[in-house]
């Protein structure tokens, strides 16, 4: 009987009722988790392995369950902000599990000579303003997800290489210049033009969030 009541309560969960919102929050949680696990200086060619083969999707599953099991009556913030907190907490816990007890340097002459660098040692975890305010973090991440969608929809292959390379993958302009046949300065100019046009298109997109603090919004 209690189980049935609990299940009935979950069906009334606001995120279960509003599927579009749940999908958006899940997208955002996936991005937050990847950001913690892979860091901002992510190498697109590699993926960090978590303990026991745990993947970012496993962490996302944990986070989603924790979010849906959260009692709505105890909610003191928005579901979006709560999701950011849960996602980051789960991701950091997974990272801690991954690096627990590992050596940073192999011993000379050790027959099992392997060099393992603690994952958190290579992460760029410097905080920015959004790290302290989950609502801002959610909104800014959501904005970038919209920009990414618009980039896929609107940009040519060459433009997408430049925008995605610089904006998301952290590629240098010099590296991209060889790929697209421009000078590094030309790549920079192209990026500026693209990013401004994408923001202009995003502002007209209903899914582009602009409810946060003034500095997070574009006019």
């Amino acid at each position: 009987m209690m189980k049935e009541l609990a299940l009935a309560g979950r069906f009334a969960h606001p995120l279960v009722v509003d599927r579009a919102r749940l999908d958006k929050i899940t997208d955002n949680m996936a991005a937050q988790i990847n950001r913690v696990i892979h860091g901002r200086g992510r190498d697109p060619r590699s993926e960090r392995a978590l303990h026991g083969g745990e993947s970012a999707d496993d962490v996302l599953q944990d986070a989603l369950i924790a979010l849906l099991e959260y009692d709505p009556s105890k909610l003191r913030t928005t579901w979006e902000a709560l999701s950011v907190g849960i996602a980051r907490k789960k991701a950091f816990a997974a990272l801690r599990r991954a690096t627990r007890g590992r050596r940073t340097r192999s011993d000379p002459g050790d027959p099992d000579e392997v060099t393992i660098v603690a994952l958190d040692a290579s992460l760029d975890l410097r905080a920015d303003a959004s790290d302290h305010d989950p609502e801002i973090a959610f909104e800014r991440t959501q904005q970038q997800l919209v920009l990414l969608r618009l980039a896929r929809e609107r940009l040519t292959g060459r433009e997408r290489t430049v925008f995605v390379g610089i904006h998301f993958e952290g590629a240098t302009r010099a590296a991209l210049a060889e790929q697209v046949g421009l000078t590094p300065q030309g790549v920079g100019q192209m990026y500026v033009k693209i990013v401004k046009s994408l923001y202009a298109a995003a502002r007209a997109d209903p899914s582009f969030p602009t409810t946060g603090p003034a500095e997070g919004r574009t006019p």
Partner: protein, 321 residues
């Protein structure tokens, strides 16, 4: 204000310099309030974006909740399935994430049978190669046999042949039930091209995690059923073109020409290396003189001549140096 005169452009470019490690973070003090807000939006966006994988995809919410206490939380969407006993793919998978496979257990068994059944798999496999034999096993798997190679193909009701824990368990059962089985193909019944993941027994056993935290095996890429079967056959039972030894042996080798070619290749390679002194001079001067070695080899291979190969080689190289 035109784009060319937009002071925010210079700030964005200066921020890129900063991110690339060559400059200090630009200040916004020289900008108007409105431009400062615009610049902050661009720069903050750039910082936020750096943590987002633009190529990532995530499993659907339904897939994430499969096999969890919340599995029944979301309303199920009716869909067809060939093997209702196999669940949809969960979040952790060795293959790229794919869209969710909705729950369908509420459907009657007659409605769950989709357009793809084991007989379809059998027909596709039978067309792959004339040498193979394809049979339908009573347990629902399709058996492909060729000499001592036996592979079994199982259908899973998914759009991609994701190797989940449940699929691993199912495949392990197949291997255990028939020890002669060398490969098991997991066929995604809902994929357009019957995407298939071929698996060996050691790939579905308990994974040994290496110190780097990576699985010790790498799965083959999923392929359409016919291609997956053909690839397996080419690896297990390759076909070699006919070779007529009698006819091939009738053609005499031009030893001198082969020797000249080998000598030219060696001299070209060695003369391009950064040797110094006599060695450098010797190799440089031998360029274009490959025929000397070819003649030497021809003399030796002709027989009847008592040639001291070491002495001849030393003489040639000393003369060159």
């Amino acid at each position: 204000m035109t784009d060319h005169a937009d002071p925010v452009d210079a700030v964005i470019l200066a921020f890129l310099d900063h991110l690339e490690g060559g400059a200090a973070r630009p200040t916004l003090d020289h900008l108007t309030d409105a431009d400062q807000r615009r610049a902050r939006a661009y720069l903050d966006g750039l910082v936020t974006a750096r943590g987002i994988n633009p190529h990532a995809s995530r499993p659907s919410v339904e897939a994430l909740l499969v096999d969890t206490p919340l599995a029944g939380l979301l309303p199920a969407t009716p869909a067809n399935s060939a093997l209702p006993a196999t669940p949809a793919e969960p979040a952790n998978s060795a293959l790229p994430a794919t869209p969710a496979e909705p729950a369908n257990s509420a459907l009657p068994a007659t409605q769950r049978l989709g357009p793809v059944d084991p007989n379809t798999v059998r027909q596709v496999l039978a067309a792959v190669d004339d040498r193979i034999r394809v049979d339908l096993d009573p347990d629902g798997t399709v058996i492909l046999s060729y000499l001592d190679l036996r592979a079994r193909f199982v259908l899973v009701p998914t759009s991609a042949p994701v190797v989940t824990e449940k699929v691993r368990a199912q495949v392990r059962t197949v291997f255990d039930a028939d020890p002669d089985t060398g490969r098991v193909g997991v066929v995604a019944a809902r994929s357009d091209d019957l995407a298939t993941q071929m698996l060996a027994a050691d790939e579905v056993g308990q994974t040994i995690t290496t110190p780097r935290g990576e699985p010790h095996t790498r799965l083959e890429p999923p392929l359409p059923l016919a291609l997956a079967a053909r690839r397996m056959l080419e690896q297990a039972a390759p076909e070699w073109p006919r070779f007529d030894f009698d006819r091939a042996g009738a053609t005499a080798l031009d030893v001198a020409a082969i020797a000249a070619e080998v000598a030219a290749r060696v001299i070209r390679h060695e003369s391009s290396r950064s040797y110094r002194g006599d060695k450098r001079r010797a190799y440089r001067s031998l360029v274009g003189q490959e025929h000397i070695f070819a003649d030497l080899v021809a003399r030796i291979s002709a027989g009847g001549t008592d040639v001291d190969l070491d002495a001849e080689t030393t003489r040639i190289t000393r003369a060159a140096a």
